[in-house]
Symmetry: C3
Subunit: 139 residues, 3 copies
C-alpha cells in the first residue's frame, strides 16, 4: 500500500471549463498504484471541480449559461462586493459544485465512465493560475 502526492497548475482564461482528466491520469500512472483511489483538490474558493460530459462541447456551453442564470451577477442583496461582481458569484458557483473529487482507480486507471471527464470550472473573468493537489492511495 502506498501514498503518492503530486500537484499541478492550470492556467484559465476566463469563465468556463478546462479539462484535467489527462493530467490526473498521468499522476495515477506515475504513482504505480493499480488499485485504490485518487483525490483531487482545487485550492481556491472562486474555481471548482466538476465531472462532466466530455464528448460534445455544447453540453458545457449549457453548463456555463445555466450557472449565469442560477447565480446571477449584480443581485441587490449581495454584500461581499469589494472584489468585483464576479467574486461572490464565484464562491456561490463553487459551493454548488465541488472543491474535491475522489475517484476509484482500477487497473491503474481512473474508473470514470466513457463520457465522464474531470474539469476545472473557472468562475472569474480574468485569467488565473489554479493550483491542484492530487493524492493517490492504493497498491
Amino acid at each position: 500500500m502506498k501514498v503518492h502526492t503530486d500537484s499541478f497548475e492550470v492556467g484559465t482564461k476566463g469563465k468556463g471549463t478546462y479539462e484535467i482528466t489527462d493530467q490526473v491520469e498521468a499522476i495515477v500512472r506515475e504513482s504505480g498504484v493499480k488499485s485504490g483511489i485518487v483525490t483531487v483538490l482545487i485550492r481556491h474558493t472562486s474555481a471548482s471541480l466538476v465531472i462532466y460530459e466530455n464528448a460534445d462541447p455544447s453540453a458545457r456551453t449549457d453548463l456555463q449559461q445555466f450557472f449565469e442564470r442560477l447565480v446571477p451577477e449584480g443581485e441587490d442583496y449581495y454584500v461581499h462586493t469589494t472584489e468585483g461582481e464576479d467574486d461572490t458569484t464565484s464562491h456561490l458557483r463553487m459551493v454548488l459544485t465541488r472543491s474535491s473529487e475522489t475517484i476509484p482507480v482500477v487497473q491503474g486507471r481512473l474508473a470514470l465512465g466513457t463520457w465522464q471527464g474531470m474539469f476545472v470550472f473557472e468562475h472569474r473573468r480574468i485569467p488565473h493560475r489554479r493550483a491542484l493537489v492530487v493524492t493517490v492511495l492504493g497498491e
Copy 2:
C-alpha cells in the same frame, strides 16, 4: 491495510431516487474492512449520487419536484438538445449533486447517520442500467 474493489448495476425506471445503501453495505462487509473509507462512483453523466433522508418517501418527492423547477426542461437557451429535452437537464442536475461519495467505515459498517441513505438519482425518463464502482480501503 487492504483495497477491495467491486461493482454493481442498478436498473432505473425513469426519473427519481433508487436506494443503494444495502448494496454498498454488502460490499463493505465482503471486503472485511473494519476501519477505513468506501468510495462509490456512478459512471454516468445523466444520473448522480445523493445522500438523502431515507425514512419518509415524501422527502424524495420534494427532491424530484425541486429539481424539475431548478433545472427546467425546454429552456430556450439550451444548445445541447439533440438527445432530447431531458438530456442537458440531466447533466445539469448531475453536476449539482454528486458523481462520487466517500464515506467512513467504522466497525465494519458505513458510518451514516440514522436517517441517511445513499441513492442513485436518475435524471432521464427512459429505463437505464447504471454502473457503479465501489472501492473499500482500510484494515
Copy 3:
C-alpha cells in the same frame, strides 16, 4: 500506512455556517499521518458541509441569503411538511452542498488553500448538536 478514526460534535444556533477547520486539523495532527487523505462526514440530512471563503464573513452572509432564495421556505408544492417549514428545505440545501468531504493531507496538514475553510452549514432554525466522523488514512 494507518487508519485513524475520530468524531466530534458541533453545537449550532440556527441557520448559518460554523467553521470546523481547526477541529479537523487537530484530528489529523493527532493521527500522526503526514501524507494521505482525511474524510469528514456529517451524519445528518438537515445540515451539510461546505468548503468556503473563511477570510471575509460577508461572503458567508451572501451564501446564507443565496440559499434562502434558491430553496425558499413555504413553496406550495412541498409535501414533506410535518416537521416545519425549514425541514424539506434543509434536505434540499443539504443535497446541493455536501455530506462528506475528502481532503489531501500533505506534511501533516490539510492541503487547503489560503482562503479555504471547512464549515458545517446548518439549515434548521433551532439549535442542534451535529455529529461528525473523521477518518484519516495515510502514512
